[in-house]
């Protein structure tokens, strides 16, 4: 249920004694947006599922295109939920099922000569689609039928290697596009629809198993999203965790915004690809959708900050926001952070515009592409700048130390040894 629409505009001019209830409203809005965004992600994943069904039933250019379009559309709401990853252990523990990355795609299907897996990954070229039987850590695995259990319990992170990603958006992306072998010109992966033609006309071999894999992986995505969306409904575990103690909830919101901006995006996802000049380090590397995915990550941060989310049907979920809460104690900071997030969003949008204009993200990553480098660096700079304000916000809200709520390693031995 989405309650916070009703309680919009109540926070201005609140007295100190009103803080507790205002903060309670902020975490309600935050939960409402999570519920709506995961629910939208689920809706779009179901549309993807329908498109995949059509592709498998009658493979053609047009059914493959439709499935790809459905995947792209499904990414937009999902990326807006990434801001919920850090700070919400329920989400963080779950998200690897749906968005683990980067992956050694040779685990799943055929790859081109010259493909490299991660170091020490004996399954980097397993190609399970071509292998009804294979050995895993000395165990003989029977994979005559491709099942959800095979993907989730056997292949996902097999051999304790994170590059073994068998489920989620990126596994599906690889099956729909194939490897993107061109990084010095526009163009995503070029998998032909005939890779899904069962019987005569099949390309890439094992088309039946490829279709089976795609079908199972898409079903899993749907059921995983059903699960997480339920965690944010009234009485759901993720909603309860965040709303029980509003101060801790605000801290978790800041942690999510801060860690996504700084450690995850500015530190790893956006920066590493650039400084390694490696198209394999592109987040949506098969589909060339990376600018869009970065954009929606940042948009998710803005949604949470402003307490406002535009749903896929155009309706708006809104309510008391973190921005309101910061405005009460430090209006300048509230405005600065808002401005910074807008600038970051513009920087991400500039990547989309340039990609639409012929310079795909993998081209931007090429050695010597100064224009691409400058475009990506401006996104990184924006993310770093807003991180500083997010740190300041935690102090302004008297939630110092919050940002390490998610840092289990600080509690001593803890999770370090997992």
């Amino acid at each position: 249920m989405l309650r916070s629409c009703i309680i919009l505009v109540t926070t201005f001019g609140a007295s100190v004694s009103g803080w507790a209830s205002d903060r309670a409203q902020v975490v309600e809005t935050y939960s409402d947006i999570a519920e709506a965004a995961y629910s939208d992600s689920l809706t779009m994943a179901r549309q993807l599922q329908a498109a995949v069904d059509s592709l498998i039933a009658s493979p053609s250019e047009s059914t493959l295109d439709a499935a790809r379009s459905a995947w792209l559309a499904a990414r937009d709401p999902y990326m807006q939920t990434e801001v919920y990853r850090f700070g919400n252990p329920i989400v963080d523990d779950w998200e690897g099922k749906v968005n683990a990355w980067p992956l050694d795609e040779g685990l799943i299907d055929y790859v081109a000569a010259g493909y490299f897996g991660a170091g020490e990954n004996e399954l980097a070229e397993l190609n399970v689609i071509a292998s009804p039987r294979f050995a895993l850590s000395g165990r003989e695995i029977e994979a005559d039928v491709i099942t959800a259990e095979l993907l989730s319990d056997v292949l996902q992170e097999a051999g304790e290697n994170e590059a073994n990603v068998a489920t989620g958006y990126h596994a599906i992306e690889f099956l729909l596009w194939g490897q993107d072998l061109t990084s010095n010109a526009p163009g995503a992966g070029q998998r032909p629809y005939s890779d899904f033609v069962v019987g005569e006309g099949c390309t890439g071999d094992n088309c039946d198993r490829r279709a089976e894999y795609l079908n199972v992986a898409t079903d899993l995505l749907v059921s995983d999203l059903e699960w997480i969306a339920a965690q944010w409904t009234d009485g759901g575990a993720a909603r309860s965790a965040i709303t029980t103690d509003p101060d801790a909830g605000l801290a978790a919101i800041l942690t999510g915004m801060g860690n996504l901006s700084y450690g995850e995006m500015a530190g790893q996802r956006v920066k590493l690809g650039l400084i390694l000049n490696d198209p394999e380090e592109e987040h949506d590397c098969f589909s060339d959708n990376t600018p869009n995915s970065h954009f929606h990550d940042v948009l998710g941060i803005q949604n949470v900050y402003r307490g406002q989310y535009k749903r896929i049907d155009g309706s708006v979920v809104s309510g008391a926001s973190l921005r309101n809460a910061i405005s009460e104690v430090d209006p300048n900071l509230a405005n600065t952070l808002d401005h910074e997030i807008s600038e970051t969003l513009q920087a991400a949008d500039a990547l989309r515009a340039r990609a639409a204009d012929g310079m795909s993200y993998d081209m931007m990553l090429q050695v010597g592409n100064d224009e691409g480098k400058a475009l990506i660096n401006s996104l990184i700079d924006g993310l770093v700048a807003q991180s500083r304000s997010i740190e300041r916000a935690s102090a302004a809200l008297d939630l110092a130390g919050v940002v390490l709520e998610a840092d289990d390693t600080l509690e001593g031995a803890g999770d370090v040894f997992q």
Partner: protein, 334 residues
């Protein structure tokens, strides 16, 4: 008088000299970045005179530069964080094998960069810096080059590039960033709005670095009991994994002392440093290959626990002494 007093109160509070920051800058940062720049330049000179992978003088120069890096790695703010200099100097870990691919690409001539070595700073970080040079000097797959081979040119280009970055870091610390830290809280300072922010940056950097030791320097080779990962140990090629850890710890100790010189204010932290220093020195496991041996593995696990406890104690004691809490951690995210 009363009016004057009110006016005075309304004036912005100018930053007061912060002894903590002065100590961090003068006793820790500036000498360490100067030493690193000097060692990196010495490596550059050594490589110019001989690029032979097994030449003792070249290897000694590389080791000295690595030692000096471990003295500045805790500076996770300012010049080392700009322009991806940290990664250009020390891109590690590299669990996806970027380094070997990047070096092979250059050595095979697919990339003509070696004809213009002064543009080596355009290359991916995986082909640059201390660990790339380590691979060239110590990895049997890479270190069999002769004086007229691409490998020789690469070692020279990478050493010159490293010396240039080290000089930039030194220069920026000395001529810009030291002042940025010292003037924390002054109206013109947009980086640190008050001295607490400057303290927090140092404190966060120190705790992050210890986390790096726990999760990466020790955690990566330890892997799990069933699946130890000895090949993932840092500087396994040069057989200095243990030395790196010891020097890393020594650097943390120096920085912690600059932050809080009063021993009474961090009793447990000091004890931990002493105990862990002893544990690390006693390891007798230069490249951490002991992760595969149950008894030697136990020592490494104990050391990892000790580092984690140090971090947690330090968080408690130094946080209280400095009046700050940890900020955003670059290692969060994955």
């Amino acid at each position: 008088m009363r009016i004057l007093a009110v006016v005075f109160l309304l004036m912005p509070l100018h930053a007061q000299a912060d002894g903590v920051i002065d100590r961090v800058v003068d006793e820790f940062a500036l000498p360490a970045v100067a030493a690193f720049a000097e060692r990196a330049e010495a490596l550059n000179e050594a490589a110019k005179s001989t690029c032979a992978a097994e030449h003792p003088a070249l290897r000694a120069a590389w080791n000295a530069a690595m030692d000096a890096w471990l003295g500045i790695q805790d500076l996770r703010f300012g010049p080392l964080e700009d322009a991806a200099r940290r990664q250009a100097i020390a891109y590690w870990p590299d669990t996806r094998g970027h380094r070997e691919r990047a070096l092979s690409r250059i050595l095979s001539g697919q990339d003509p960069i070696l004809t213009t070595p002064d543009r080596y700073n355009q290359e991916p970080v995986s082909a640059r810096g201390l660990y790339a040079i380590e691979t060239m000097l110590y990895d049997p797959d890479f270190n069999h080059y002769g004086p007229s081979d691409p490998g020789c040119l690469l070692v020279r280009a990478a050493s010159a590039d490293l010396a240039a970055i080290a000089a930039e870091v030194h220069n920026e610390w000395q001529n810009e960033f030291a002042d940025v830290m010292r003037t924390a809280g002054e109206p013109s300072n947009t980086r640190f709005l008050d001295s607490t922010e400057a303290r927090q940056a140092v404190f966060t950097a120190l705790l992050t670095s210890i986390q790096f030791d726990v999760l990466e320097r020790l955690g990566l080779p330890l892997g799990t009991f069933d699946k130890p990962r000895p090949l993932r140990a840092e500087s396994r090629l040069s057989g200095r994994s243990q030395r790196n850890l010891e020097l890393s710890l020594a650097g943390h100790d120096r920085l912690a002392r600059a932050l809080v010189p009063d021993a009474a204010a961090n009793v447990v932290t000091r004890e931990d440093f002493e105990r862990i220093g002893w544990m690390a020195a006693e390891l007798d496991d230069p490249d951490f290959s002991g992760v595969e041996n149950p008894i030697r593995r136990f020592r490494l696990e104990a050391l990892q626990s000790a580092f984690a406890l140090l971090r947690s104690e330090m968080n408690r004691e130094l946080s209280a002494a400095l009046g700050v809490t940890m900020g955003l951690n670059a290692l969060d995210g994955d």
